[in-house]
Amino acid sequence: MLGAATKRSQPQEQPGGDTMAESRPTTATSTEPAATSGRPAKTIETRGVNLFYGDFQAVEEVTTTIEPNKVTALIGSSGCGKTTFLRSLNRMHELTPGARVEGTVTLDGEDIYDSRVDPVAVRRLIGMVFQQPNPFPTMSIYDNVAAGLTLNAKKISKAQKDGVVERSLRGAHLWEEVKDRLDKPGGSLSGGQQQRLCIARAIAVEPEVLLMDEPCSALDPVATLAVEDLIGELKSRYTIVIVTHNMQQAARASDVTAFFNLDATGKPGHLVETGPTQEIFTNPNKKETEDYVSGRFG
């Protein structure tokens, strides 16, 4: 049960096999060195997902499977609902006043919208990296990474925290650049470094899934490629969903591409086609997809 995730430091046997709460060691006590090997990640499935802002329906009937250990890119023109859909995958959509969700979203079969599930636990298991790098600017680099741990864990020793911070910064390809100035403010880093710091902060709490909302749109080309390389490595440990307006980024960085579109302004967005990125960009099934990826429309 997802809600139990807040009690992961004391896993309990529950009927029905492993739960996410039991499947992995707690973040707070995880002090192993930087893990580079792969691990099975989790699958997100959506069934008949409809998303609303008050009376306005933003997304209509999305049924899809987001595969584990793969990067899935959500593409589509502005206003087609891809970011709204992304935010529904970790229950951030409902934070907007008047927003609501219909349909089901499951993480390895567990309904994240079940009434017994704690939304905060969902957001810890399904982390989010935003368009604009948003480190706490005056907080130190170290504390930025440790922020999630501090909020989530009850007690954690300094040594344990040091281990997690190093592992997370290594995982985000930032350790070598900042290891000698961990006490400097997060705001002192470059844009690309700040975004990698945000990724380090996201993976510090050992999520299952990483959602990224246009993570490179504020970065220069070099920093963009560094983040794309990082995404490519992170997929060996996480399920990754990325929203991007950059067709080449979707083509370069993702394994699966999902194309969203809307019939007209004011109409809800819908999922047109999902497929291996290679196929979407060389031989898509739908003409609508072809027109979009070729730049014919939008």
Binding site: F281, T282, G295, G298
Partner: protein, 227 residues
């Protein structure tokens, strides 16, 4: 927002396709002159074909470079990407077909200005050449019209050329022991071989038509595993 975006890029791509396929017209002209040179043992006309091959090579280089630029600057995907990829193949085939015409024309001076040793051999080669011209124009039309059925029909047309090539070989064997005659027959077999390869290039272009339309590349005929 305009209904169709990237109009300039699409126009550029369409122009490059027309320019690349126009290379097949240049090949057809070269092949027509080649056949005339063979028929009349016309060494001067053969030299014109050899010199004029620079036009075909020039077309290859010009369109090839423009397609590479389009790839680098426009990031084409899907059908556009398949079209550009196939045009690069087609250009290579055109360049090779031009070279084959040159190969035929280069053997003409070897046999000199003497009358042909065997009229039947010349007739077979001319028939091969005319059939190859038909293939080239059919390949061009199939590409322009994205007609996979017409492209696949090139295999049937190519069989005619292959059979004529085998007839040439048999005839050469039957020409007797006269050394001059045998030498002449050898040069004519080289010419027949060049024409046979040119027809194969036309079939290759047909395979690219199927790739552009379906996204799947497959050889219409596998020479290493004939059915």
């Amino acid at each position: 927002m305009p209904e169709v975006a990237r109009a300039e890029y699409l126009e550029e791509l369409a122009n490059l396709e027309a320019s690349a396929l126009g290379g097949l017209d240049l090949v057809n002209i070269a092949l027509g002159r080649t056949l005339e040179a063979v028929e009349r043992q016309d060494v001067e006309l053969a030299q014109v074909v050899v010199a004029d091959d620079d036009r075909i090579d020039g077309r290859y280089l010009e369109v090839h470079q423009a397609l590479i630029t389009l790839l680098a600057t426009q990031s084409p995907v899907a059908t556009d990407l398949r079209l550009i990829s196939s045009l690069l193949h087609v250009l290579k085939n055109i360049e090779r077909m031009g070279d084959q015409c040159v190969n035929v024309c280069k053997v003409i001076p070897i046999s000199g200005n003497e009358p042909p040793a065997d009229e039947e051999m010349v007739r077979l080669i001319l028939t091969m050449g005319r059939q190859t011209k038909t293939l080239i124009m059919q390949a061009k039309r199939a590409f322009e019209e994205r007609d996979v059925e017409m492209a696949q029909d090139l295999v049937r047309q190519d069989d005619v050329v292959d059979n004529l090539n085998r007839d040439c070989f048999r005839l050469a064997l039957e020409l007797g022991d006269d050394a001059d005659k045998r030498e002449w027959a050898m040069t004519m077999l080289l010419a027949a071989r060049a024409l046979e390869r040119t027809a194969d290039n036309a079939v290759d272009i047909g395979e690219q038509v199927a790739f552009v339309v379906t996204g799947l590349f497959r050889e219409f005929e596998d020479a290493s595993h004939p059915s």
